[in-house]
């Protein structure tokens, strides 16, 4: 078991500073927990310190990751919204969802 950071990470670095075992580092898009180093704060804190520190609830137990990922993408607008076909439809145009050629 370990904790992981979802795509909701806002790169604030709070978790990195709080982690008792230095399991967290920044990558290009977001912070990442090294699962081999993470000990879920056992022996250090009652609850996972990153989860406690994270302002956006992006640090979660690994087993829950899939539902958080789905939630994040949905919250950010889900699948792309495509506008095409010229300005005639601009006003009343219904965006064509999930268009992927």
């Amino acid at each position: 078991m370990a904790h992981m950071i979802t795509a909701e990470c806002v790169n604030c670095s709070a978790c990195e500073r709080e982690c008792p075992v230095q399991a967290i580092h920044a990558e290009a898009d977001q912070y990442v927990i090294d699962v081999d180093v993470c000990v879920d704060c056992e022996g250090y804190f009652e609850t996972a310190r990153c989860k406690w520190a994270c302002p956006v609830n992006a640090c979660v137990p690994e087993r829950d990751s899939y539902q958080y990922k789905a939630r994040t993408v949905a919250r950010r607008g889900g699948r792309p919204v495509v506008f095409s076909g010229g300005p005639d439809v601009f006003g009343e145009m219904l965006p064509e969802n999930n268009k992927n050629k």
Binding site: A7, V10, N11, C12, S13, A26, A28, D29, Q30, V56, V73, R76, G77, G78, R79, P80, V81, V82, F83, S84, G85, G86, P87, F90, P95, N100, K101
Partner: protein, 429 residues
């Protein structure tokens, strides 16, 4: 080989690139934008045509890539006005410009994808095949243009600025910017502040119109400009060194509050504590609308500058990647993003068609700027510089070279002499 152009990043550069790519005859142009609106930092911009930008703008009209500049002219709240150090400026309305640009792109047949944050790239054999979005959608293309900009993610503002100040880039909501060239493993450069630290801070805030004194607002809406003297105890000249927009680092800007009418009140200072701002007569009730925490700081810029040639082709191991906007170097501003983006979009299609790419000669100001900035960026000591048609070191160079003019005939002749009249309107495939 097909001809599908994928533009990653829907700011001014991306919008310009998508448009010239379509003008050049690409069958399908897809513009990917991370947020819910186009233009990115262009949503807080507004200043056009000031100083040498006038020349650059008219060159773009002469070369057949004037559509977006026309959208700016059409939505301008003020035309041909002056503020300290800047002549014949016009201010587009930040509240009206986005729909105008979106309409222009759709009119030309560009496909605009919103909520389409680029996350990963798929490349093999020295070519990009597709980009993967946050939604895991895969967007294939034949040529790609990196106009992802140089603002965000939040780590940039946390590490090199004053933290996230909730600016219009909206990283927490829509997810951070990811550099396409960076994901391809191409080493990128970062600009520096005057003190040598990385990045550069955006140079202005937006204040809600309802919160400034009626007599200031009246002057602002009538003339486009209001200069309110700062009380002596608030004058801080040091702050000017931190600004991205070196053309506004003038004494007048330190001793006065300079306000421009761009729809909101554009306050020409990177940040100011609101309790101090409210000590200025007439600003007692001032409130920031962008960045929301303009009290403490502003967004950081100029991370991830791509190595590129004068045709806007990204240098490295990828053969179908072009760039524009702030990615293309230390060129500051909306006009600057539009010119580099437009060239990148056009040349991307030329590359697809197997035709020689256009390099703008140094006899026209845009070509001169593109080449000069690339050359100067090869030296580390210049990474603290910012280049813009509108002031500071580059405008001086432009004047020294005799490139600065507001005479439309001179500009038209210059473009014609270079054989570039309406070059961006020519279909190359």
């Amino acid at each position: 080989m097909g001809n599908r152009v994928v533009v990653v990043g829907g700011g001014w550069a991306g919008s310009a690139a998508a448009l010239t790519a379509k003008q050049a005859g690409a069958d399908q142009v897809v513009l990917l934008e991370r947020t819910d609106s186009l233009l990115g930092t262009g949503l807080v911009g507004g200043i056009m045509r000031n100083n040498g930008r006038y020349t650059a703008t008219e060159e773009m009209f002469a070369m057949g890539a004037g559509h977006l500049f026309k959208a700016c002219d059409d939505t301008a709240r003020h035309r041909n006005f002056e503020f300290p150090g800047h002549k014949h400026a016009s201010l587009y309305d930040v509240s009206k410009i986005e729909p105008a640009v979106r309409r222009c792109l759709l009119e030309h047949g560009v496909e605009v994808w919103m909520f389409s944050r680029f996350k990963e790239v798929e490349y093999s054999g020295g070519s990009i095949n597709a980009v993967i979005l946050e939604s895991d959608d895969r967007v294939e293309g034949d040529v790609f243009i990196d106009t992802t900009g140089s603002c965000g993610a939040q780590t940039l503002c946390t590490d090199n600025g004053n933290g996230c100040v909730m600016c219009v880039i909206r990283c927490p909501t829509f997810g951070p910017r990811v550099s396409l060239a960076g994901k391809c493993g191409i080493p990128e450069k970062t600009g520096k502040k005057a003190d040598g630290s990385y990045g550069a801070m955006s140079g202005s805030c937006k204040i809600s119109k309802e919160t400034i004194a009626p007599h200031i607002l009246e002057e602002l809406e009538r003339t486009g400009l209001a200069m309110v003297p700062l009380p002596d105890h608030l004058i801080d000249t040091k702050k000017l060194g931190t600004k991205a927009c070196a053309q506004y680092a003038l004494k007048e800007f330190a001793e006065n509050i300079i306000l421009l009418d761009t729809g909101h009140v554009k306050f020409m200072s990177p940040f100011m504590q609101i309790h101090k701002l409210r000590q200025v007569p007439g600003m007692e009730e001032a409130r920031y609308v962008d960045p929301y925490s303009g009290t403490l700081g502003n967004s950081m810029r100029f991370a991830d500058l791509s190595p590129r040639d004068d045709a806007m082709r990204v240098q490295g191991d990828i053969d179908n990647l072009f760039c524009g906007g702030e990615k293309a170097g230390l060129l500051v501003g909306h006009t600057e993003a539009m010119v580099t983006g437009a060239l990148g979009g056009h040349n991307a299609v030329r590359a697809l068609a197997g035709k020689e790419e256009v390099i703008l000669p140094k006899s026209i100001s845009i070509g001169h700027a593109i080449t000069t900035v690339r050359e100067e960026m090869e030296f580390e000591e210049n990474m603290g510089n910012k280049y813009t048609f509108s002031g500071s070191i580059y405008f001086k160079k432009m004047q020294a070279e005799g490139l600065y003019t507001t005479d439309h005939d001179v500009i038209a002749k210059r473009v014609a002499d270079a054989g570039l009249t309406n070059v961006f309107e020519q279909r190359v495939m």
